[in-house]
């Protein structure tokens, strides 16, 4: 595979965005379909590989960075969104995607998730949700149902109600919320295209079954259905839809044009209110302040 970017005149293909590294995932893992959907979306958008960065944490799904051919960072557990925020702040012109699992994003990284939602930087975040910690071989996650008794740390079930990721994102102020399913990779790719195009923080909750530790999730393909209505920009209506749903409806549920946060006003629109003149100062002027 050539490592140079596809010229703009040549239509990009999903394969151009895949690396030659063989995934560690189990056969039948939903994450393969997420990888396919991401590469399809990038090809559809014809983004040069070098202009995209895929940032991940730790876990089965977080391995995805290495399987793409864009720039990537496979960091520490739970911190993908913090890495992504720093990268986007420094390099606003890049298309920055972050991805990881339900444990990575909603347990150890839960604080970063809610703050990324409210910060509304122009990032796309994909949680590949299989309701289990797979890499550590089968513990309950924040999205696991309370009565799942196969978790090795919770042999009688967690007894704890799971997070509702879409509802959590809405409450935390995310400006784009969608759910996709790996059994419908084309639909997921379409959602990802919309998410990447959305100016602001786009959260994509991807239902991604784990055939190894949650084989019952193979039934998901019979349970998912599309949201039968258009996305709303009304958070109250979005909350009603999310609450009324059993978590198996897929599609874009909510989209809002909140101001996009750019630290220091990078890239044009203003972010924080620091009173500084962006780029208008000099080191000499700053040092003069310290003279008696």
């Amino acid at each position: 595979m050539s490592r140079t970017a596809a010229p703009a005149t040549m239509a990009a293909t999903p394969k151009d965005y895949k690396s030659d590294i063989k995934p560690v995932w189990c056969p039948g893992c939903g994450d393969f379909a997420v990888l396919n959907a991401i590469t399809k979306a990038l090809a559809f958008l014809e983004l040069p590989r070098e202009a995209v960065a895929m940032i991940t944490g730790i876990g089965c799904s977080s391995r995805i960075a290495a399987y793409t051919s864009v720039y990537g960072f496979h960091g520490v557990h739970g911190r993908a969104l913090a890495l992504a925020a720093g990268l986007k702040a420094a390099r606003p012109e890049l298309t920055v995607l972050a991805a990881g699992g339900d444990g990575d994003g909603l347990s150890i990284g839960g604080n970063h998730f809610i703050h990324a939602c409210r910060r509304n930087m122009d990032l796309t975040y994909i949680i590949m949700d299989n309701e289990v910690y797979g890499m550590t071989k089968g513990q309950a996650s924040p999205t696991t149902a309370p009565d799942w008794a196969d978790g090795k740390l919770t042999p009688r079930g967690t007894g704890i109600r799971p997070f509702q990721p879409a509802g959590l994102a809405l409450a935390a102020g995310a400006s784009f919320i969608a759910r996709g399913f790996t059994g419908d990779p084309n639909g997921l790719a379409k959602i990802l295209v919309e998410a990447i195009r959305h100016p602001g923080f786009a959260f994509v909750h991807a239902l991604s079954p784990c055939p190894t530790f949650r084989p019952e999730q193979m039934e998901w393909k019979r349970q998912v259905r599309g949201f039968d209505i258009e996305p709303t920009d009304d958070p109250v209506e979005a909350a009603r839809r999310i609450q009324a749903d059993d978590g198996m409806s897929i599609g874009v549920v909510y989209r809002n044009a909140y101001p996009v946060f750019r630290p220091g006003g990078a890239g044009g629109e203003s972010g924080g209110e620091s009173g500084g003149v962006r780029g208008g100062g000099s080191m000499a002027a700053i040092e003069r302040e310290l003279r008696l």
Partner: protein
């Protein structure tokens, strides 16, 4: 020596919250500066967020000073509320002077028991007679007169500070200053004791600098254009200083949700090619340690300024200690070679931070720059700082191309880094062990090769002569680091004046260690006094781990919160027998 005494005055101004002790101290230092003096000021607060007692500890000298003296010549109490809280911080001598307000209540018994001369001035009453007049400005006038500071500059200094608060405040402040300056008791008090010489002595350019500001300047000079910030005392002022200034230079600061985020934001920005830094203190550094290991493994330049405070746990957040050394040296998991530097004084905060940034960039690794509360939050008036860093290569970047190997096993250990946006060089930075291309690998050969590479680039680099500040000769050496160096230098000067030659070796580069250079710096030394502000002797243990010090060694190690004074060090050397 009256002349020497007169040129080096230490004053303390205390008062309850809102009394304006800190403002008076800041104005006094600025006024002394405009009169040609140099000096230093430390602020001391009680634990309250607002409204607690405060003390301004001011030292005014004709020579640069970088630490407080052992005792105070004068205590001015705007009132006595909770004044006993400062008793251990403000050591008075029998020949010191106390200025107090007779209307502020009885002098606390422990202070009265010292039998120190007391001059009473009704500062509150004098201020009451002046519209918008304040007792702390009366106090400023009293102290300016006592120091024989030419009052002409006072109006300008007051204007400078109060201009934004309206004409009435400016006029009231000026009049209150005059009321204090002209008060007759000071003239009498001055006759009884050696007086400072108010002549203009220093004509060169001077800076008014805190340690945190010094780190900020050093960071910007080094090229930092992104910072991530989570507030923590006593590092917040550094981050607050950077926020608008980074924007002025076209960079940005991002307030993080916690320290776990801030260090990762730094790594993300630096991965994007923008030199990046965060600042924190002990508990925050503890939270950052995991990702600091990531910066080492993924070879992403990252700088953490850690402003040490009393620990462990929340400890004493507003006071100083040198006890995060172990964490900075050894806190990373795995075998993770990195850089640890310690700033030695206020001006050195600039040098050390700039050097730390440039080293992190050149070596594509993590640099921890250690300062402490004592250094970070005190201000000095010093001659304009000047230093020269050796030429350091910038971050080595990969150009567009094919067949890119991010972690190539080069002779130097440094591999060209591709910045996102560079065509043909896409790669995945990884905290997983990896091969030369960055592909995850658990193979023994890859692990060994990458460990060697990361060690080689740091161990093999030539750090030149900035590894330590070595001054003086003599068979006795003080071996120290960080802000304790200032007290060590002053102690050595005192001993030298008494005919005892003492050399001071203050380590600026702690990791990697420089055992051969230290052995050379200590050649001919028969006695070494190790000085550090740590109950657990962390610096001494570090020395024993990395260096062979052959001379007879003793340790002056004690915890914070009070800074180590020159007198303590002099006593330790004089009592060596």
């Amino acid at each position: 020596m009256a002349a020497e005494h007169s040129c080096d005055i230490s004053l303390a101004i205390t008062g309850s919250g809102g009394a304006g002790a800190i403002t008076a101290g800041e104005l006094l230092l600025e006024l002394a500066g405009r009169n040609g003096c140099l000096g230093m000021m430390r602020r001391s607060f009680g634990p309250q967020i607002r409204g607690g007692e405060a003390a301004a500890l001011v030292r005014i000298s004709h020579r640069p000073v970088e630490c407080m003296n052992d005792s105070f010549d004068l205590l001015l109490a705007l009132d006595w509320r909770n004044a006993e809280r400062f008793a251990e911080e403000i050591a008075l001598r029998p020949d010191s002077l106390i200025i107090a307000d007779p209307d502020a209540g009885a002098i606390p018994e422990p202070i009265r028991a010292l039998g120190i001369e007391l001059v009473e001035v009704p500062m509150q009453a004098l201020a009451r007679d002046i519209p918008a007049g304040r007792p702390n400005l009366v106090a400023l006038g009293l102290l300016a007169h006592w120091l024989d500071i030419c009052p002409d500059e006072a109006g300008r200094v007051i204007d400078h500070v109060f201009l934004g608060k309206g004409e009435a405040i400016v006029q009231g402040s000026r009049q209150a200053f005059v009321a204090g300056f002209g008060h007759p008791v000071i003239a009498q008090a001055r006759q009884a004791r050696p007086r400072p010489d108010g002549n203009r002595v220093f004509e060169g350019e001077r800076w008014d600098l805190s340690g945190n500001e010094g780190c900020g300047i050093g960071a910007l000079r080094g090229g930092i254009r992104f910072a991530a910030a989570y507030p923590i005392t006593p590092a917040s002022d550094l981050l607050e200083w950077l926020a608008p200034r980074l924007e002025q230079l076209g960079g940005s600061l991002l307030q993080a949700e916690d320290e776990l985020a801030s260090i990762n934001m730094v790594i993300g920005a630096s991965f994007g090619g923008v030199p990046a830094l965060t600042a924190t203190s002990g508990p925050g550094l503890a939270l950052m340690l995991e990702a600091m290991g990531l910066a080492v493994a993924a070879e992403v330049p990252a700088v953490v300024v850690n402003v040490m405070r009393g620990g462990p746990s929340t400890g004493i957040p507003t006071k100083s200690e040198q006890a995060d050394l172990n964490m900075a040296l050894y806190g990373l998991h795995g075998d993770a070679p990195h850089l640890v530097l310690g700033a030695l004084d206020h001006a050195d905060c600039i040098l050390t931070t700039e050097w730390g940034v440039r080293l992190a960039e050149a070596l594509q690794t993590l640099a921890v720059v250690l300062t402490d509360q004592n250094l970070a939050q005190s201000r000095v008036l010093i001659p304009e700082p000047a230093y020269a860093l050796p030429d350091l290569p910038a971050r080595q970047l990969a150009g567009p191309g094919a067949d890119y190997c991010r972690y190539a096993l080069t002779d130097s250990g440094i591999s060209p880094m591709a910045i996102p946006g560079t065509p043909g060089c896409t790669y995945v930075a990884d905290g997983l062990e990896h091969d030369e291309r960055g592909k995850p690998s658990s193979a023994a050969a890859d692990h060994h090769a990458q460990l060697d590479k990361r060690q080689r680039k740091i161990a093999g680099f030539d750090y030149g002569n900035l590894w330590a500040d070595v001054r003086g000769t003599g068979e006795i050496a003080i071996l120290t680091w960080g802000s304790s160096a200032a007290a060590a230098h002053e102690a050595a000067e005192r001993l030298s004046r008494r005919g005892e030659a003492v050399r001071v070796v203050a380590l600026r580069l702690l990791l990697p260690a420089s055992p051969e250079k230290l052995a050379q710096a200590l050649s001919g030394v028969s006695r070494v006094l190790v000085v550090e502000q740590s109950h657990g002797r962390q610096f001494h243990h570090y020395l024993r781990a990395y260096y062979d010090v052959e001379a007879e060694t003793r340790v002056l190690a004690r915890p914070g919160p009070l800074p180590i004074t020159p007198g303590e060090i002099v006593a330790a050397i004089e009592n060596w027998s």
